[in-house]
């Protein structure tokens, strides 16, 4: 594995690069070295997977971390730089690399570190009524307090000027059953000129909460990062903890985890197909898809005790098991699903009414997707060939061979087709792991305490895209920082660029075709 380390070190022209664990590399650089390293990483084809801050607490300073993902050789490279407490600034890379835009402003909001050279130094996460100079993720900020509201508006919306050109504000309370967020459209009649997205209404204080809860309970918080991605986030958190303590789940658990993650993918994709059909007012297939989805979650409740697969992942393995009889039951159910699902997809794409609404709607061009670091299903629908199940396999994926589907169109149709094809692939994977399940235990024991002053990265390719959890412990082995990166955080900026040029009535279906998480973004 040192060969991989040397290759990556040379590509990034780093003096030293440490390999913490397989697939996880780390290097410290001075603050001024962050932009240069970023240039080299981008030139070498690495992509920015996350960018975050941390606070070492009393006596220490802050740090800014760039997390890069490499594919050949595969690995995550964390390049970090210390930031002195009395000089709370770091050099921004957002002007060159838009993917860093929200990340850097989030560090500014939560840690009070100024991204120098950032083209837009207004708040992204904190709302206007949050006071100046209060930074919730700093260590000296006590989470059990009521922060007073202040008046004034620090972030006016972009003005619209001209005849027949106006603003349409939507949210945070929407007309349907969806999460809270505010959309500000600049429109000229029906066509949308631009879209400004203001989020963080669902900011529940999740990252701070991780620092307060006992680390074992962090798993339950991870399950609630985004309710539709319980398995994805629970897995990413479990992987981080397992890597931190050096414990591998037993082979059977690694297989069962694949079953759970793929079931989560299938039920969400089927539900989204129902949503897309609903938003183009094609009610018969929408109802059919809803019935399929309900059948899936009912099966999950029967097998695992939870419709949304809560409480199935354990630190060190899984909390459930499947007997041979149960596995046959699932295989039979999935066979039925496959037939129904094929019919449903054919019904939709053969219908001119449907394709009229989805073809060429909400195009996210490949280059824009690349610039904003769009990941997962939405990225693959715009031709970005990324999938951690293949590129950095976790759990039993390393033993599986499969071709990741890819679409080029970047429109609603492409995102619809991605879902259809990913369901097909998931069914193949499910069949494979269910038929070929190793015997043995489903859980490895974990030590009583986490190692002090260490860190680890956990990842999982959830149904929406990659879920990343970086955990760091303090001198006593408590969680000092948990950085959660939900795919939505990167993809929201992509969505905002897929909307202009479309008409306002098409926004719901464009939004649905991405189906991003507000809670996962707002944390």
């Amino acid at each position: 594995m040192t060969a991989a380390r040397d290759v990556l070190r040379d590509r990034l022209a780093l003096e030293t690069l440490a390999e913490l664990r397989p697939g996880e590399f780390v290097a410290e650089v001075p603050l001024s070295g962050l932009p240069e390293t970023a240039d080299r990483a981008m030139a070498a084809g690495l992509r920015l997977a996350s960018l975050f801050g941390s606070d070492e607490g009393p006596g220490g300073g802050f740090a800014v971390h760039h997390l890069w993902a490499a594919t050949g050789p595969p690995g995550f490279v964390r390049v970090w730089a210390p930031v002195a407490r009395d000089a709370p600034r770091f050099p921004s890379i957002a002007a060159k690399y838009p993917v860093a835009n929200w990340f850097e402003r989030e560090i500014m909001d939560y840690f009070g570190l100024v991204p120098e050279g950032h083209p837009n130094r207004s708040r992204v996460a904190l709302h206007d009524d949050w006071p100046e100079n209060v930074w919730p993720l700093r260590k000296d900020f006590d989470d059990r307090q009521v922060v007073p509201r202040v008046g004034g508006q620090s972030r006016p919306y972009r003005p619209v000027i001209g005849e027949g050109v106006f603003h349409v504000p939507v949210g945070p309370v929407h007309a349907g059953i969806i999460e809270p967020g505010h959309f500000r459209f600049g429109v000229a009649g029906e066509p949308i000129l631009y879209l400004q997205v203001r989020l963080f209404y669902a900011h529940e204080g999740t990252e701070k909460r991780f620092e307060r809860l006992p680390w074992r309970h962090g798993l339950f918080l991870a399950e609630s990062i985004s309710g539709d991605t319980s398995v994805g986030h629970a897995l990413a958190f479990a992987h981080a903890i397992e890597r931190l303590v050096g414990v591998e789940p037993p082979p059977r658990a690694r297989h069962l985890r694949v079953v759970l993650l793929e079931l989560e993918r299938v039920y969400n994709h089927v539900a989204d197909i129902a949503g897309i059909a609903t938003d183009v007012a094609f009610t018969v297939p929408a109802a059919r898809a809803q019935i399929l989805r309900e059948g899936l979650v009912t099966m999950q409740e029967r097998l695992f005790g939870s419709r949304l697969l809560r409480g199935t992942i354990a630190l060190g393995g899984v909390k459930c098991d499947l007997t041979l009889g149960r596995r046959r039951e699932i295989l039979l159910d999935l066979e039925g699903l496959q037939r129904e699902f094929d019919d449903l997809v054919t019904l939709l794409i053969d219908s001119g009414n449907f394709t009229d609404r989805v073809d060429g709607t909400g195009i996210l061009p490949n280059q824009v997707a690349r610039d904003f670091g769009v990941v997962g299903l939405a990225g693959r629908a715009s031709g970005l060939d990324l999938d951690l199940r293949r590129d950095q396999p976790h759990d039993a994926y390393s033993g599986l061979h499969f071709v990741v589907p890819l679409e080029e169109g970047g429109d609603v149709r492409a995102r619809f087709m991605m879902r259809a094809r990913e369901v097909e692939l998931s069914l193949v994977i499910l069949r494979h792991v269910l038929e070929d399940m190793p015997e043995g235990r489903v859980r490895s024991a974990l030590p009583d305490a986490l190692p002090p002053s260490s860190s680890a990265l956990g990842w999982a390719e959830g149904w929406r895209g990659e879920c990343l959890h970086w955990v760091q412990t303090d001198g006593e082995g408590r969680l000092r920082r948990v950085k959660v990166t939900d795919p939505s955080f990167k993809n929201w900026q992509g969505l905002a660029h897929a909307v202009p040029g479309n008409i306002l009535p098409d926004f719901p279906v464009i939004n649905k075709s991405f189906n991003l998480s507000y809670s996962g973004n707002d944390l």
Partner: protein, 305 residues
């Protein structure tokens, strides 16, 4: 077109006649307090503080279990060394107050420091039978009024939204009971609110509440909506349960509650509304003991905000 028709004909009716018939394998935990030793293991294992131990006097202990905060993770079941905590089969739980969701057991300590169970306090909430009766009456057309519901996500993880959405699918089909989801609070009889109320949604929730016409009924959904759940109550970002911001009439705990539990909560809330509309008339079903939420001064509309 033909394909769609033939598909529909072949499918037949998928809607469940009695949505309450299927029981899930695992529900809220049940503690057999008579055999409990108040050792506190379950309280340590509980990630949300739904189980808590208190010492009101040197020789007394109190163990309380609140379904308002329970996320049904079953850690307490695994943690109990006496094996007196079990996963119950109850999931369709609704209550008029947070207190109705809490059971508190008292223990005396003997000279050796061993706890002996003395008595339990619990307040009965509305039973499932009541909702089932109301459901039958609705189906028979005895309860005429329809119910217009406005859903408000005040900061949830979206798990509760998935289950609320599921209530409208063809299998549960809430519309057949006259329950409709509407787009504006101004058309709503009832607000169905999820999430720990975040600091950033507090004002929006208040305004939505004020925009709904009287007599409005509020149903808090999920462990988060009932108590802040895993996100906690009183943090800088999570204010906590919905009742910290607006008066709540019915609590539907669970993480997330199943669609059946949400339906049950809505049926209970219909009783509240009937009682509020006809305070004198004998209720069509067992009258719930409700105190109407205090009338708030009508604030200026959302549009001005």
């Amino acid at each position: 077109m033909f394909r769609i028709l033939s598909k529909s004909l072949k499918t037949g009716v998928v809607t469940k006649a009695d949505p309450f018939e299927s029981r899930p394998p695992l529900g809220f935990p049940v503690i057999d307090f008579a055999r409990c030793t108040a050792c506190e293991e379950c309280a340590h294992a509980c990630p949300t503080g739904a189980i808590a131990l208190a010492a009101p006097a040197a020789d007394r202990r109190q163990l309380s279990l609140s379904y308002a905060a329970c996320i049904q993770c079953r850690e307490c079941v695994a943690a109990c060394p006496e094996q007196v905590v079990a996963s119950g089969r109850d999931v369709e739980v609704a209550a008029y107050t947070r207190e109705q969701l809490t059971q508190t057991a008292s223990f005396d300590l003997d000279g050796m420091g061993r706890a002996r169970f003395t008595h339990m306090e619990a307040q009965a909430g509305p039973g499932l039978e009541e909702s089932a009766a109301r459901l039958r009456e609705r189906i028979r057309g005895l309860l005429g009024r329809s119910l217009h519901v406005r859903e408000v996500d005040a900061g949830s993880c979206n798990g509760c939204e998935l289950e609320i959405t599921a209530t409208t699918n063809p299998v549960f089909d809430l519309e057949r009971f006259g329950i409709h989801f509407v787009a504006s609070p101004r058309h709503a009889d009832l607000l169905l609110v999820t999430g720990p109320v975040t600091r950033n949604m507090e004002i929006a929730l208040r305004r939505t509440y004020e925009a709904a016409p009287e007599p409005r009924v509020v149903v808090a959904v999920g462990a988060c909506g009932c108590s802040g759940g895993i996100f906690g109550e009183g943090t800088y970002a999570s204010i906590g349960g919905v009742d910290r911001v607006v008066p709540v009439d019915v609590y539907v705990p669970g993480c997330p509650p199943r669609p059946q539990a949400i339906l049950n909560g809505l049926l209970v809330a219909m009783g509240v509304r009937e009682a509020r509309l006809n305070p004198k008339a004998p209720a069509a079903s067992p009258e719930p003991a409700v105190t109407p939420s205090p009338a708030r001064p009508r604030a200026r509309g959302v549009d001005e905000g």
